[in-house]
């Protein structure tokens, strides 16, 4: 009974509030569908404007755009493709292309199936929001797109055969041209859309640098050269594409491929260049293969480079973790020795002394040898205590016996071992005579700063400057990483706190200055005045 009432109430509430929400959502959906239709038509018009002959487009990117959008936003946006396709086919019908309505309907159905199957397969094979920075993702994309475009090519060929647009003998070539055209278009469009959709601002920022400008200029120049000279020098564009893949990642690589493809088609369509010299079938095939090879090579290469970079970073991370674990383990052992063995030795010293005193009070015959034995036990225990103290000191002393600079250099060497990161240490040639506490804390601060620069700031250059003058030792660590807002609560918050407390431990003055995008400077100054008993003062 009570359940029913409850259900009734909640339905009422739901129906009341659901209406306006539904209306907004519906409006948004319709707008999205229309936007997708417009994008589809625009891409189709662009491709049609670069037709080699009245009926053949060398590549057909609208299918790729459709697949990418449905992949990213969801299959429920399919009506956008339907409307777009309807508009394109309606236009073909109205422009008097002579294509029968039946064939156009078959073509429409095939293109719809292509986009939906392509998007579904893509989601299944490479997961959602893939970055295309792994070779298995690129392989999965190749399979999904190849399958989707084969559906469309088959539907299209059968429709055209049925409508007597082509003859039986033309069917094979027709199918191949259709399939390669859609595949080439999709292999350019899909990576372009899904990589840029992930991080458009970051990608753009990476591109708007002198190197990015130089890269784009090279892509354009080499792409033009590769297709405009009559000789077969189409490989000329590859150095630029490889550059993009190596240095800029999948998004910029996809853009470079798109530029090269556009230039190749544009030139050929305007009756120029290497491909135009071929007969028409050959001309289309050459263009398609050129674009397919360029797109595949670039996609795979950028994925391989990203994989390599990732595993290098993981290796560094693993080494750092390993080092930290070893350090923790040393400290744990030191603590354990302190808590167990040292205490037991102390107790042994006390027992031995008690036994000696008891012996002294009694007059037994064996007193001589017993007291000698007790003296030996006492001496042995004392020396074991001393050795234990030294061992614990060695285990617990982070900086090690050769000073904080040597320890810091070792840490820097671990960080730089995988490349992409450089540490310069500028320091006085002779070893600074610093108290042990200062050595330990300076090492801790320097280690933290270097690790942050490598891990969080993605710095490529770090300078460590050590100076001693006027009773002060200063250590300054500059990096050219992404910086952070020191007043906000950043990711490495704990690290900064530990640096502050380490500095406070040795009465050092610590300044951390950083701005987003402009690197970080960490400076610590230690006064070497009377407060250090065994320090530089002596």
């Amino acid at each position: 009974m009570s359940t029913q009432i409850h259900a009734g109430v909640s339905r009422k509430i739901f129906s009341r509030s659901a209406v306006p929400v539904d209306r907004t959502a519906a409006a948004r959906y319709v707008a999205g569908v229309l936007a997708l239709a417009v994008a589809y038509v625009a891409t189709a018009k662009g491709a049609q404007s670069l037709r080699y002959t009245a009926s053949v487009s060398a590549i057909w990117p609208p299918a790729g755009v459709g697949i990418a959008v449905l992949y990213l936003a969801g299959i429920r946006w399919w009506p956008g493709i339907f409307v777009g396709e309807l508009l394109v086919n309606g236009d073909l019908l109205a422009s008097g292309s002579g294509l029968p309505v039946g064939s156009l309907m078959g073509q429409q159905a095939g293109n719809m199936a292509e986009v939906i199957v392509g998007a579904l397969l893509l989601r299944r094979l490479i997961g959602e929001r893939a970055a295309l920075d792994r070779t298995d993702q690129v392989g999965g994309m190749l399979l999904a797109l190849g399958t989707g475009t084969a559906i469309s090519a088959t539907f299209g060929t059968v429709s055209m055969l049925a409508g007597d647009v082509i003859t039986q003998s033309q069917a094979a070539t027709f199918w191949r041209t259709w399939w390669l055209g859609d595949s080439a278009g999709a292999l350019v469009a899909v990576p372009l859309v899904i990589t840029w959709a992930r991080a458009p601002v970051a990608t753009l920022r990476r591109l708007v640098t002198w190197e990015g400008g130089l890269l784009l200029a090279s892509v354009v120049v080499l792409a033009v050269v590769s297709v405009s000279i009559d000789e077969s020098v189409t490989y000329m564009v590859f150095p630029a594409l490889i550059w993009a893949a190596f240095r800029f990642g999948p998004a910029v690589a996809a853009l470079s491929t798109a530029i090269a493809a556009g230039i190749a088609i544009g030139f050929t369509a305007h009756e120029q260049g290497a491909f135009f010299n071929h007969p028409i079938d050959q001309r289309v095939l050459s263009t398609q293969l050129y674009i397919l090879v360029a797109a595949l090579t670039t996609s795979f290469l950028s994925a391989v480079v990203a994989e390599r970079r990732r595993s290098a970073a993981e290796l560094v991370e693993a080494q750092l973790r390993e080092g930290e674990r070893a350090l923790e383990e040393r400290h744990r052992i030191a603590r354990d020795l302190h808590d167990s063995v040292s205490q037991a030795l102390f107790s042994t010293v006390l027992h031995t002394r008690a036994a000696q005193k008891a012996l002294a009070r009694q007059d037994v015959g064996t007193a001589g040898s017993l007291s000698r034995a007790l003296r030996s036990i006492g001496e042995l225990t004392r020396s074991a205590q001393g050795e234990m103290r030294a061992l614990i000191f060695e285990l617990g002393n982070e900086a090690g016996a050769d000073g904080f600079l040597a320890a810091l250099s070792r840490h820097a060497a671990t960080l730089t071992a995988q490349g992409g990161f450089r540490v310069d240490i500028e320091a006085p040639s002779q070893r600074l005579s610093l108290p042990r506490q200062v050595e330990t804390q300076l090492y801790g601060i320097g280690r933290e700063a270097l690790t942050n620069a490598a891990r969080h700031a993605q710095a490529s250059n770090v300078t460590v400057r050590v100076e001693e003058r006027a009773g002060h030792v200063s250590v300054q660590i500059d990096d050219d990483g992404c910086g952070f807002d020191p007043t906000a609560s950043p990711v490495g918050h704990y690290g900064l706190e530990s640096m502050r407390s380490r500095a406070a431990e040795i009465d050092a003055h610590l300044t951390i200055s950083s701005t987003r995008g402009a690197g970080t400077v960490i400076r610590v100054e230690v006064p070497l005045d009377s407060r250090w008993p065994d320090g530089a003062r002596d």
Binding site: H338, D339, S342, Q343, A344, L345, F346, S347, T348, V349, L350, H351, T352, R353, A354, A355, K357, A358, R382, Q385, G386, R389, S530, R531, W532, P533
Partner: protein, 231 residues
């Protein structure tokens, strides 16, 4: 045998059973020390003290391990010094960090020993504390002496305060200072806290170390407290 009334009553507090047994065995072998009990932590120690208080057998000195599960030996030292003014506490620990030494001295400890001390040093520290003197592990004392004492000045001090500071430097307790200068104990205490304020120090131990470092204490006068840090 030392008469019972003249023996120094000692309570041992350490949560490490092995160490406790060693301390008990050793202290029982010292004829002038009377071990009144051993406790394994803060609560146990205060319970025992309340019992001993009821029997009028309060210890003269508590040997206190600092490194115990919370509340630790520093908290226990503070509590004991607050409840039983006459009990002196000698801190015993494996750690010699300056911050811990300061914390223990601030809490009112009259001595600080490391757990790798020689056995006889333990009994020496107990005797020194009973005499109202300060006994520090030699290495720690040296560090404190040369270390982080502020560079205060005696310029702002009155002649009487300087006298009091000298007596602090020889390890005298407030009562002894009061007797020596023919003033009340309360006045002596006021002088001491004024001196600490003027020097920017936290404890009379620091004041004593400061006085020795600044040469306010004659070597002859200071010799009776030569074990106060091996200075």
């Amino acid at each position: 045998m030392v008469p019972e009334t003249e023996r120094i009553r000692v309570l041992v507090v350490d949560d490490h059973a092995v160490v406790r047994r060693g301390l008990v065995a050793f202290l029982e072998s010292e004829p002038d020390l009377d071990l009144v009990g051993d406790a394994d932590g803060y609560d146990h120690a205060l319970e025992m003290l309340a019992e001993l208080d009821a029997q009028a057998r309060l210890p003269d000195v508590v040997l206190m391990d600092l490194q115990m599960a919370a509340p630790d030996g520093i908290a226990a030292t503070r509590e004991i010094r607050a409840r039983y003014r006459d009990i002196e506490v000698v801190a015993l620990t494996s750690f010699g960090e300056d911050s811990r030494v300061h914390a223990a001295l601030d809490a009112g400890a009259a001595g600080y020993l490391l757990k790798d001390a020689d056995a006889d040093e333990v009994s020496a520290a107990i005797r020194a504390a009973h005499r109202g003197e300060l006994h520090l592990d030699p290495a720690i004392a040296r560090r404190l002496m040369e270390g982080a004492l502020p560079d205060g000045s005696t310029a702002a001090m009155t002649a009487r305060e300087l006298q009091v500071l000298r007596l602090i430097g020889t390890g005298k307790a407030n009562k002894e200072i009061a007797a020596k200068l023919a003033i009340s104990e309360r006045t002596a205490r006021t002088h001491v806290s004024n001196i600490l304020g003027k020097l920017g120090l936290h404890s009379r131990t620091q004041a004593a170390l400061w006085a020795v470092r600044e040469g306010l204490v004659d070597t002859a006068e200071g010799s009776d407290r030569a074990d106060a840090g091996g200075a």
